[in-house]
């Protein structure tokens, strides 16, 4: 009964690269010192953090001094919003963001509103793109901050960040971008993107959980989110997660080195999976942008059926994927991203995200294409919405 397991949920997290694990091990074992201590035990951990800082900065074209380590992507996004807004509140009280941001942006923004800030949430088109013209229209004299994600974590849509950041720059508005679903997966250059801050995380690029970073451009004022010691130049208190940070650095280095190869390798499987589903299964829709999406993102709606049922049946076949269906979410709400893109409720319910990564193989794609059509057929035959 044991079936070969297939992990097609690389958007949620990734398998750790053995080289990354090797990099982390000494800091879990013999080099356990606190980097802030004033004795020899701090030497190696301190050096490991600075090495990782360089590796992380190289991946996104930043300077080493512009990288601040955090515990996760959510913290990086929270830090950027609260830190930038609080440090610049004398300039205004208006923030602009988009309807498809991750909850680690949208939920803080709800709190901002409660605290008296004005928040504009921009709509997106059917592909999930923010229209730069909409950004222009929303700007007021009180706008201090914009937050638009780089690649969407569900449908993958890559935004026109440069165009939007140019608008922000012209009006002297701070620009944050959540790059968690982009960095390490597609080429990122913070200077070319024109961002003032940028979040990225280790677990999306074959690194460990528990390490992420916020790029903060030199000269930008920001207040810390966590208060305490003076780690990270006083901008992020708390003893550094040295093993995870060391692993994060290595993951960044590897991601940079393997970028071209991975994009080529993963895109090929992505195209094969999309093509196979399109030819084998009727009444489906590829969600997201036709071209502006990361390699590996295959987000499909299967009409007439519900995503959690599909996930359960795939799981029995050993295939791990994700869904934007309300039944598959703890909050029992359909994906806000899909609804913002104007997808009909039944199509949002029937959505599945296969996210492919560097450890997947064409053989796994082929097996998925074998088991998926009968699963869809079986569920459709049970559905009152489906008429043959």
């Amino acid at each position: 009964m044991a079936k070969e397991k297939i992990f097609f949920d690389n958007a949620s997290t990734t398998r750790i690269d053995p080289e990354v694990l090797k990099e982390m091990e000494p800091y879990l074992k013999q080099h356990y010192g606190n980097p802030s201590s004033l004795h020899d035990y701090s030497d190696k951990p301190k050096k490991a953090i600075e090495k990782a800082r360089k590796q992380a900065s190289d991946l996104i074209g930043a300077d080493k001094e512009e990288i601040y380590f955090t515990s996760c992507g959510t913290e990086s996004n929270n830090f950027a919003l609260w830190g930038l807004a609080r440090a610049n509140k004398d300039r205004g009280n208006h923030i602009i963001s988009s309807a498809i941001e991750h909850v680690s942006i949208l939920n803080p923004l709800k709190e901002f509103k409660k605290e008296g800030w004005k928040v504009s949430i921009l709509p997106v088109d059917e592909y999930g793109l923010v229209n730069p013209e909409d950004v222009k229209k929303e700007i007021t004299k009180d706008t201090v901050l914009m937050s638009i994600m780089h690649a969407n974590n569900e449908v993958g849509t890559i935004q026109k960040i440069k165009e939007i950041s140019d608008i922000a720059r012209e009006k002297n508005i701070l620009f944050h971008s959540d790059g968690i679903a982009a960095a390490g997966i597609i080429p990122v250059d913070v200077a070319k993107l024109g961002v003032d801050s940028y979040s990225f995380s280790a677990q999306q690029m074959y690194g460990p959980k528990g390490a992420a970073a916020l790029y903060i451009k030199k000269g930008i004022k920001i207040k810390p989110l966590l208060l305490g010691g003076i780690q990270e130049k006083g901008r992020r208190a708390g003893t550094e997660n040295v093993p995870a940070i060391a692993g994060f650095g290595k993951a960044c280095e590897i991601a940079g080195k393997e970028m071209d190869r991975n994009i080529k390798y993963i895109s090929k499987m992505q195209q094969s999976l999309i093509k196979g589903i399109k030819s084998e299964i009727k009444n489906i829709k590829l969600n997201g942008h036709p071209t502006e999406r990361p390699p590996g993102n295959v987000h499909i709606s299967f009409e007439f059926i519900e995503g959690e049922s599909i996930l359960l049946m795939l799981n029995i076949e050993g295939i791990a994927a994700a869904s934007g269906s309300s039944c598959a979410s703890n909050a029992l709400k359909s994906s806000h991203v899909l609804l913002a893109m104007g997808l009909a409720p039944t199509m949002a319910q029937g959505s599945i995200l296969f996210s492919l990564g560097k450890y997947n193989t064409q053989k796994e794609v082929d097996r998925t294409l074998e088991v998926l059509p009968p699963i869809i057929d079986r569920l459709r035959k049970m559905s009152p919405l489906y008429k043959e």
Partner: protein, 127 residues
């Protein structure tokens, strides 16, 4: 995926009584696509007894398992007995459901009751 128990998974993977009854004596539907579950039940009644039940369900694993269980519970019961089946009984028979599924997906008994009401309505009109 450890959210569902053995019995739920069994009914989900091998649902009983899936389908439609063309000349059904009663038909009932509950749910909507926004919340994620739609259940349609068909019943055949003879001498006040439910002799056949079929269902079609759009929904999550719990919704499909619930529908299957309700169909099994209702078959062979008199109309009055079947009206006493509650969503709570169904969840219990399935060995429990995850808390967040108790309300949205546990509508099988409601759909069955609607089919029975539809049958009773039709009987009245016949007279």
């Amino acid at each position: 995926m450890i959210m569902y128990g053995k019995k739920v998974m069994d009914h989900f993977m091998s649902p009983r009584n899936v389908g439609e009854i063309k000349d059904a004596d009663g038909k009932g539907e509950v749910g909507n696509p926004v919340c994620g579950d739609i259940m349609t039940f068909y019943i055949k009644v003879k001498d006040n007894k439910i002799v056949d039940v079929k269902f079609k369900t759009f929904g999550c694993g719990a919704a499909i398992a619930v529908s299957s269980m309700v169909s099994e519970m209702a078959k062979g019961k008199t109309v009055d007995e079947a009206l006493k089946i509650t969503n709570k009984n169904v969840a219990k028979e399935l060995g429990g459901l995850p808390k967040n599924k108790l309300h949205c997906s546990n509508l099988g008994a409601d759909a069955l009751h609607k089919a029975i009401e539809n049958y009773i309505e039709k009987q009245k009109n016949k007279k």
